[in-house]
Symmetry: D2
Subunit: 407 residues, 4 copies
């Protein structure tokens, strides 16, 4: 625990959570589970969820009103790091994306009827959900360009569109769909978020997109979807009409902390695996990998970079807690690319230290090498964040940013 950000309840909670992760989840890191589809390990994970509930650790992300702990973002971020040490941690604690984001969204913006029907089972871990935004036809770096429409028809919306990278759609009970409802409004005011049950006629899961050769399944999948004349009541609107981007952006603040602390957790665990192997792998009689400066360099750089990244993220989390996300937009951009790159460097070094073993599914690292490469792409590619951050900074020095944005 980074003691600058320690709190009394974290001092009690974190060791218990870490013990759970180590005792209950590390043993699941078998070659089969690391190389197989999620559905193979899922039944076991659902059993582990029962253990989480028994241990009184269920619902760590929830408000007190929902039997949660009302943790600050800075506190929950530190829990997120610990959970991320296992690839199964967040799922077992029901704090996995995109459900955690949908939980926050429904909690704040859904009408009561939707809350009753969808939020409650979501918080109980009885159903899963997805968030359907990205479209193959438009560059993700400019989210306001979108082809999916939701047209009013009586008391319903009629939704048509083509989405992909709708993570965890396979098996989800509902999707939150971004669709253009107000095409004549200003660019950032055109889209809305609408809850669409996955069993609504016209919703087709075209495929789970193979990522790095893995189609995946269930929660661990990224779907291509078609919405063809999908009809849902207008009462399924979440938040105000035209507020789709606003809500999406609001989601990004806390979501960014979750993600980045997850990156830190992965980096930290990779670091431990690297160190452990470095002291145990013998090169010749009396010499182990860790005696070599190349390996020492990997370790020293990784230690400094992970510590720096963690401090950066937790500072931002505290700022969001104290000042709100809008006040620290620059920090929220900054932690994304800094942390994602740090994680990927550490994973890569840890693999290199393990040699051939590092590429196998006998250990955890290759799983992350494959599944976390996206960290530099989703939620804003490095390049998008760097440009946005720099332009925001330069605006403070007098750069006429507006002018350029219209180019």
């Amino acid at each position: 625990m980074e003691n600058l950000f320690a709190t009394e309840r974290l001092r009690h909670l974190l060791p218990r959570i870490q013990a759970f992760v180590e005792t209950e989840l590390y043993p699941l890191e078998t070659t089969d589970y690391l190389s197989g589809n999620f559905s193979v390990v899922e039944p076991l994970l659902l059993q582990k969820r029962a253990r989480v509930k028994e241990a009184g650790l269920w619902g760590l992300h929830l408000s007190a009103a929902d039997s949660g702990l009302d943790l600050t973002l800075c506190e929950f971020g530190q829990i997120s790091e610990i959970l991320a040490r296992s690839p199964f941690g967040h799922f077992v604690f029901n704090t996995q994306a995109p459900d955690i984001g949908n939980t926050e969204l429904l909690h704040k913006y859904a009408p009561e009827a939707l809350k009753e029907r969808y939020l409650k089972p979501l918080m109980a871990g009885e159903i899963r959900s997805c968030f359907s935004m990205t479209e193959p036809e438009f560059a993700g770096s400019n989210p306001t360009r979108m082809g999916t429409t939701a047209i009013k028809d009586g008391t319903d919306y009629l939704i048509n569109g083509h989405k992909w990278f709708t993570s965890s759609a396979d098996g989800a009970a509902f999707a939150v769909v971004m669709a253009v409802t107000n095409p004549d409004a200003a660019r950032h005011r055109q889209a809305s978020q609408i809850l669409v049950p996955m069993d609504t006629p016209g919703v087709t899961l075209v495929r789970n997109i193979p990522i790095m050769g893995h189609s995946g399944d269930s929660w661990a999948s990224h779907a291509e979807l078609r919405y063809e004349n999908v009809r849902v009541p207008q009462a399924n609107l979440i938040g105000a009409e035209g507020a789709g981007f606003l809500l999406a952006q609001e989601r990004l603040g806390p979501g960014r902390i979750h993600h980045c602390m997850r990156f830190i957790g992965i980096a930290e665990r990779s670091f431990e695996l690297m160190c452990r192997y470095a002291v145990s792998r013998e090169l010749e009689e009396g010499t182990v990998l860790g005696d070599k400066q190349f390996i020492q360099g990997f370790i020293a750089d990784s230690r400094a970079e992970i510590d720096a990244a963690r401090l950066l993220v937790l500072r931002t989390a505290r700022h969001i807690d104290e000042l709100g996300a809008a006040a620290v937009r620059e920090e929220i951009s900054m932690i994304k690319f800094f942390t994602a790159n740090t994680m990927l460097r550490v994973i890569d070094r840890a693999i290199q230290v393990h040699g051939a073993l590092g590429m196998t599914s006998d250990i955890l690292l290759s799983y992350w090498y494959v599944h976390e490469r996206g960290a530099r792409i989703y939620d804003g590619a490095d390049e998008v964040h760097k440009s946005a951050l720099a332009r925001s900074i330069l605006k403070g020095y007098g750069l006429d940013v507006k002018r350029k944005e219209t180019r």
Copy 2:
């Protein structure tokens, strides 16, 4: 074609080969083939081999005596680059590792009887083979430490050992096995190479090791094997007894050129995919990815690095042709880490330019991201080559290298 290294026959051959690869093999880069096991596409590839023969392009790596072209290493390297533009190119032309290396080995060192029985069908593409050297219990950076033994018993060898990363063992007709035959000799003189038919009793393919989550199969696999009281005639010895490391090292010279030029081909194709996407992916009305300096930076750096790497490898190939591999050991180390890292950087940039699409198996890049990470590890990790290269250089300045090696 790099015109410094152009030859008359390459001027005729290369365009024909490239046309074949583009026409016959690019269409196989479908999502299914990129994400599926090799056995799914294999039947098609075997048909393509027939087309290669029809086109008179079979056996490009062979000597004139074997109906080949007697190409220099520098010439064949340039063909290797072109073949590598498709993940199926080398297999279809029967120039894939490890068979190409075993072909060279048997050609030079196998007794006639073995040649007749194994080399001929290997050159004809009727059988496949593997090379069984690496052991899980010993660090690859020190190849002279080895647990597998071959003990003389009558006119046979009795082989016992545990190997892994025996690539393409699945479906292979025989393995060339490294085993200690002379435990009392000097360290580099203890092992021999012995041909072991895969159907010999006692040979067990434990599993195809899952790499990055993919067990793979057939040629595209990396096996763990056990040799338990495997009995083969001593006539299966390749080269002299105790010459195992010598032969393995000899294999490394040309093999390094094959590999490195393969890396160059992969990098070049990734570069093309990156450029193509950069000019076609629209960010907003009238602006494409390629208009952005971040993307331009990826492209400019990649262009320079690939050109530099290719020159470095082809220079080494020519030197091996003219002076022999022993004379340019430093260069042979140098091209390995320089080229592998160049390739991996270019693949990574190309993925980044493609955004989410880059991670999918809808295009080629993620296939290479996953399957080529090993390039910095196998045949000597970066760290091993850098240290060896530097120590060799410093020896020229008076460093007492021997003293250190014994540490």
Copy 3:
């Protein structure tokens, strides 16, 4: 101010100090002063010291007993950053190395008589001092190897030795000299620190060593010195005999914070210069440097890296305040290489943004490019710190570090 580490008195002090630096010291950044010897600007700086005293800002580093503020290390670190924004800041506030370190040393370990005679005028800014440790004949990475000796002769020490990189010796009133007093003790117990007045017979300032072409002078210089039969009373011993390395290491804790926060201040000011130029330098009608993504990349990366480095250093400062330096040795190693490299990258990028102007002494950047390159070398080269950090970490995983150290 990084608000995680803000304190009430810093909220008052920092803006006043920053205003002083900007108003009084920025105007001194003229081409002449940036390219000339220190003695040219020194008279002006001494006047500025009077202004510091008038403003009640003198002695910020001192204890309350010495009319200072008893600031924590974490507080003073933040002041150090602000002072470092001008190359003259620390000197004008009398907090410059090596005097600040000698002040701490004498304060804690000097006998009363030495304090009266040397510490008082040092704190008053009436004299300067130096610290004479490094020797040209021995690698700095192994400080326990040393040729300088101090042999007891009656009540005196007789000192003989050859030192270099004794910074600020030119014009100093005294040196603290590291010399072997106990050659038969364990390696870390052989040397002692002895105060030697510079006018003692036998002390020769051989030269101010030209660094990057600049010999420098006065405070801004690095001397080569010879000590030939230099006789000083044994009462000039600082701390216990044989405790030289211990004291030197103790000095490193707070000294590291001073240095690293100085690096941060330099990086931050360079960042500002880069941003300012980026918004003002026109490339063509309507386009400035800051509109270009390459420049935006420099800015975004620098912003993230500086913030990360500052958090890392201030965390360590707080830990030293709370737990003592001995408890956080790893952190003290880590911040050195991380921060020095961050600073040098930011300076380099800022120069690149300025183009030809960046290399001139018309602006500040080239001054730092030249004078701060040493940051990756002095007080432990990057390589030494990385190796030490990694070995300390790996010790926690069971590495037998001792064994290796003796190699």
Copy 4:
């Protein structure tokens, strides 16, 4: 010598030149000469020029008609590398920039009268010259923006303007001045090159600009100049009116090879210094720097990078020889940033290996650290070349480059 590019006469010439450089010029690398102004060593260098003539090595860059050797660019490039091993090499052989470029320019484009008067003594080393193009008011990345004008007045030009970074103006006999003569022509057709004797009334050398704290003098200086109503005959026009940029660009082709091979020479010499020190500096009994993997990594990376860069440059030189510079514009961009960055990385590593000594003027490295940082800026900053290269490549993929250039 890179044997791919060896020629018969180089086999004779290069060893002789290298012997000269080592015997005659290395001894001049004293602390005084490395830290002092050029004028201090200049008299000695002029004596060395006499030795060059005696040795029959004068005028290596000249055509046979001018008693030169008619070397190809690829041959002279390799000589340039050897000369660059000493900071005084090019000057002593009279092949220093900007005189070598002006020699080529006058040779091809000057009217006979100017040749007689200026080219002959320039080739004889009796006078020096400068090239006056860059202006402080305009960004160097866009050379077509220029404030200096040359207006016809009778048979004269009347020149007014403000220039800086006119290298070697101090002591030069004449400047070649870029000035707008045709303000109404298309952008690239507005400027002309005019020869201006430095003693013409109205030419003022404002100052030698301090670079990294060094004003320098004589040949080793970079001047700020004012041209106020400077009157020269129109017969001093070089090439056609309006052809200024064309000639400047033509100069860039061979000039780029000279520069880049100079970078290679500097890198190679730095590499040698690094290796030499690595084997001789003892860390402890029996262990030298070169035994350490960090140092080995510096050496291995440097070796590969220098070799790669050299091959890249010599390939381009050969292409220019065979195809002309216009055919290989992309290569000419590529070698600039690749080689400059390689050189600077190698210098930096070599300094790091030398520790404190590396920063001093007791050895050569800090001289280059200071004086070669500009390599990433002058003649097109890295960023300019990368963007130009990428846009040229992408044009081949269909990018509408024109459209963007007007933005």
